[in-house]
């Protein structure tokens, strides 16, 4: 039993996790591709045309997964940042740093596809719908986290400061969502809302689910890729990095590395 516990913590250092991440990545890329193809197939070729929204509704097959991922990634990012703060480990902080840009990209895609969905449906590129507005604020929260970490030179301080910000953000997200919802319902003249999704046919639901899984696998793959690069950057001075196969300079001293 105690063997299992020791094994987990063995991977808690950048040194031991770097190769593990490298091995996991291809699997996540593969799963992302499989789910993506399946989801897109269903989304375009199986799911029927919507009665009210025509073909335009098909955007939900990326809009909804991107939104879900943007929120999920924020939670996971805050979790890892919190663990890094509480246990004073480097790897957890690096993971939070690795997740942030991907989460921000998901938030951006959610906003972009939301606008492209809204324009044909409701006539304007932007609707102050509760969910879209909350998504915009989430995007700002991501940008703030990334900007704060970028501005602080010392990586450990950046990790910890980011953690505080992410945790404060996580606590605030429900409050922000609630207040925006409140604001939205009070000010609505007509009840146009992107939250009124078309009544879901089974196939539509399946398409969304598969695409969500695809996005999730993609995010994992990309986050691990970024994590490995961050590890290389932040652990550059260590022996194990300098002895990595990828780093070993060619034996011929006169050969200038590319």
């Amino acid at each position: 039993m105690s063997n299992r516990i020791v094994n987990w913590f063995k991977f808690a250092s950048p040194y031991s996790f770097y190769p593990v991440a490298g091995k996991m990545m291809p699997w996540f890329w593969a799963l992302a591709a499989v789910f993506g193809v399946a989801g897109l197939w269903i989304g375009f070729f199986v799911a029927p045309t919507d009665a009210t929204q025509g073909e335009g509704y098909r955007i939900i097959f990326i809009h909804v997964p991107a939104s879900w991922l943007s929120m999920f990634i924020y939670l996971v990012m805050a979790m890892w940042a919190g663990i890094g703060l509480a246990l004073n480990t480097r790897l957890a902080g690096m993971m939070a740093q690795a997740l942030a840009p991907t989460g921000a990209i998901m938030a951006f895609l959610s906003l972009w596809t939301g606008a492209f969905w809204g324009k044909p449906m409701w006539g304007t590129w932007w609707v102050w719908d509760a969910r879209l507005t909350s998504e915009l604020i989430l995007f700002f929260l991501y940008l703030g986290f990334i900007a704060l970490q970028a501005a602080i030179d010392d990586p450990r301080r950046a990790d910890k400061a980011g953690a505080i910000l992410a945790l404060v953000g996580v606590v605030n997200v429900p409050i922000i969502y609630f207040s925006v919802k409140w604001w939205n319902t009070l000010h609505q003249g007509s009840s146009v809302s992107l939250t009124k999704s078309p009544s879901m046919a089974q196939t539509m639901l399946w398409g969304m689910l598969l695409m969500a899984l695809a996005f999730w696998m993609y995010s994992l793959a990309v986050a691990l890729k970024r994590l490995r690069t961050i590890i290389l950057e932040r652990e550059a001075h260590t022996d194990w990095v300098q002895n990595l196969a990828e780093v070993r300079a060619p034996a011929n001293l006169t050969e200038v590395p590319a």
Partner: protein
Amino acid sequence: MLAVMRRDLLLAMRRKTEVLTALFFFIIVTSLFPLGIGPESALLRKIAPGVLWVGALLATMLGLQRMFASDHADGTLEQMVLSPTPLFFLVAGKNAAHWLVSGLPLVVLAPLLGVQFDLDPESLGVLTLGLLLGTPVLSLVGAIGAALTLGVRGGGVLLSLLVLPLYIPTLIFGAGAVQAHTSGLGAGGHLSLLAALLAMALFFAPWATTAALRISLE
């Protein structure tokens, strides 16, 4: 805690210009909106709560760095962290002083500026009460940002980026209260939510600020 508060107040009084600059900023910015939008009173009355609240937000942000920056620069802050008094109380004292000097004047000025927007006395009352409840929240939450960005380059602008999204609920409930009142729905709900925000901020924000200070100073 009172000692810290008194000290900060004294320092602020000696450096009046910083405080007054933020207040003048509030006055000027809120005056800009009618100039930009037009003098039609019905429209002004509609935008007044939003404009005054956003002005208050921005004016508060201008003064946030003051909370820790000067003490950090001359080493007093480190002394405070090392002192036997729990940092929590020192932070609370600083927050209180900051609000008294930055937030409270906004609360006092707001009704006067609200007259520029042709708001009726009752709405002005709701606005003032809202600001009274909300400006402490702005100080408390802003302190977290100020502590996080202590000594960081690009601090001021970065601080705005960090803190403004967190200010949004206060803005919504504060401005919403006045709008609810003018539309006859009653401001009670909004004001209670503001009070709830204040209670939560009073309990949680100083902890986050203390943690952030320790991180920035180690």
